[in-house]
Amino acid sequence: MQTGGLKKARVSAMMGVLLSWGVSSASAEIAPEVMGKSTMGEPTPTWLMVHDAVGPAYVFDSATGDMQGLLSLSGFTPAVVVNLAEGRAYAAESFYSRGVRGVRTDVLTIYDLPTLSPVGEVEIPQKIAALPFPQYIEMLDDERHVAVFNLTPGMSVSIIDVEDQEFVDEISTPGCALMMAVAERGFLQLCGDGAVQLIRLGRNGKEIERIRSDAFFSLEDDPVFDKPVQTSRGWLLTSYHGLVYEVEVDGGEISISEPWPMLSEADREADWLPGGGQLVAFHQEQDLIFILMNQDGEFAQDSPGTQVWVYNREAQQRVAQIPLTQDGTNLFVSQDEHPLLTVTGVDAQLHIFDVKTLKQVRTISEVGVAPGLLQGF
C-alpha cells in the first residue's frame, strides 16, 4: 500500500509537471512572424553620426550607447549636412562603375532620415574633395542651397538647389577652402594668404558678392587649423599655437576678433599644444570650447590628444581639463542642457564623458572599421 501510495503520488506529481509544462508551453507559444523594416526615430541632441574610414556613417545615441541605424556613403564622402525639419540628409558622393576604377560619377545624394535611404540625387562636377572634413559640405541659411567643396587641387565650390534638385553653379575660389555658413546665403572660406573670404549667393544660387578680409594670421608662423567650429555669433578658429580667433559677418563686413591665447606660460613650458583630427567642439548655450591637447611638441598638430581642455569662450579662461584613458582624435559635444562629450579614441572606440562631472560614463565599441569624424543632427 505504501508502495502503491508512493507510486500514485509520483504519477500525480509527474502529471502535475506535465500539465504545468503543457500550460506553460501553451502560454509561451510564439505566433508566426513576418519580417519587416524598422524606421529611425527622431534624432535628439545626443545622437551623432560616426563616419567610418571606408564610408558608412553609424548613427549612435551617446546617451545610451545604442546604435540607431547606418547611412551608406561612398568612400570619398567627406561629411553630410542635415535638415531635421525636412527629415533629410545630404551627402556628396563619388562612385566608380567598377569599384576602384571605371566611369566616375559624382552626386549629391538626398537621404530620407527615417529610412536612412536615398530618395534622390543630383549629378555634380567630378571634383568633390575627399577625406573627412566637416566644412567640405555646408547647408546655407536658406536651407535650399547646399555648397560642396571641390579640390582638383584647384579650389571651387559646387552649389546645388536641393528643393528643385538641380545643380546650379560652380564657383571658382582660388586659394580659399572650406565653407562656413553665415547669414543671407553667405559662406566664409579660409585662404592661404591668412585671410577669410565671404561669398554671398542670390536667391537663384548664383554668386552676387565676394569680399575678403585683411590677412590676420601667418601661414608660416602660426596657421589656423582647417577645422573651424560654429558659435552662436559666427565661427571660431584655433591656431597651431593655441590662439583663438572669432570671425563674424555683420552686413557686408567681416570682423575678426583680437586673438586670445589658450595656453599659459606654464602650459607652453610643459609643451602643451593643440593636436588631433577634429580637435575642437563648441557648446552653444554654455559657451564652452572643447579642444584636444597633446605634449608631442612642434609638428604634432595632427597627433592625437591626451587631454581635452575646456574653456569658457566669453571669459577666455580654461575651466576644466579631462585626461583621456585613450588618446583622442575627434570631438563632439551634444547641444543640450546636460551635454555629453564624445571622443573618438585611437582604440577605435567612442568614449563618452559627462561634461558636468567630467567623468567617463560609457564606451561604445565596434563602431565600423575605423571610426573618425563625428557629426550631430
Partner: protein, 174 residues
C-alpha cells in the same frame, strides 16, 4: 590622410600591429623614438643598394619600410615600400599621380635638408600596410602644396588611393 591611417590601423599585419600597440600607449613622437631604439638594438639599418654596390659611404640610412625613415617627415598615407613598390615607384598596376605635395626633410647622414615630393599611387584598392603620418611643416588644406590631409590622386584615371612614394627632388637650400 588620417582616414587612411585609421583604416590601416585596423588592417595592418602583425608587425605593424605591434608597432601600433606601442603607438597607442604612447605619443607618436615617443613611439617613433621607441621604434628607433628597437631598430638600433636589432642593427636593422640596411644601406641603399646603390651605396652597397659602389662600396661608397651611404648617402642614406634607415629602413624605408619604417615611418621614421628620414624622407617621410611630412608623409601622410601608406608606404609603397611595404606594398610591392619602392621609395620612387608605384607597386605593380598602380598609377602614379603626377601631382604631389612636398616636404622638406633633414637627411641625418649628410645633415642636409632635401625637398621631397610625395606622390600617391592610385587606381587600386588601398594597400593596407605600413601606415604613416608625420606632419613636419605640414600646412592646413587651404594651403595645399604642403598639406598631407588631401587625397592626392589627381590627374589619374581613378582617384582610388593605394599608397605613397617619397622622391628626392633636390637639396632644399640648393
Amino acid at each position: 590622410m588620417k582616414i587612411i591611417e585609421s583604416l590601416l590601423s585596423r588592417l595592418d599585419d602583425m608587425a605593424c600591429r605591434s608597432s601600433r600597440e606601442i603607438a597607442q600607449r604612447s605619443s607618436r613622437r615617443r613611439f617613433i623614438g621607441k621604434l628607433g631604439a628597437l631598430m638600433v638594438g636589432a642593427t636593422a639599418f640596411p644601406l641603399l643598394p646603390v651605396s652597397r654596390a659602389n662600396a661608397e659611404p651611404p648617402s642614406e640610412m634607415g629602413d624605408p619600410q619604417s615611418c621614421d625613415y628620414w624622407r617621410y617627415c611630412a608623409l601622410g598615407g601608406t608606404l609603397c615600400t611595404c606594398c610591392g613598390g619602392s621609395m620612387t615607384t608605384c607597386p605593380p598596376g598602380a598609377e602614379p599621380s603626377p601631382i604631389s605635395w612636398v616636404g622638406t626633410c633633414l637627411n641625418p647622414v649628410d645633415n642636409k635638408h632635401y625637398l621631397i615630393s610625395y606622390n600617391d599611387c592610385c587606381g587600386k584598392a588601398i594597400c593596407g600596410r605600413c601606415f604613416c603620418h608625420r606632419a613636419e611643416r605640414d600646412t592646413p588644406v587651404y594651403a595645399p602644396s604642403k598639406a598631407n590631409d588631401i587625397l592626392w590622386c589627381f590627374g589619374t584615371e581613378s582617384r582610388t588611393y593605394h599608397c605613397t612614394v617619397a622622391i628626392v627632388l633636390g637639396e632644399a637650400s640648393a
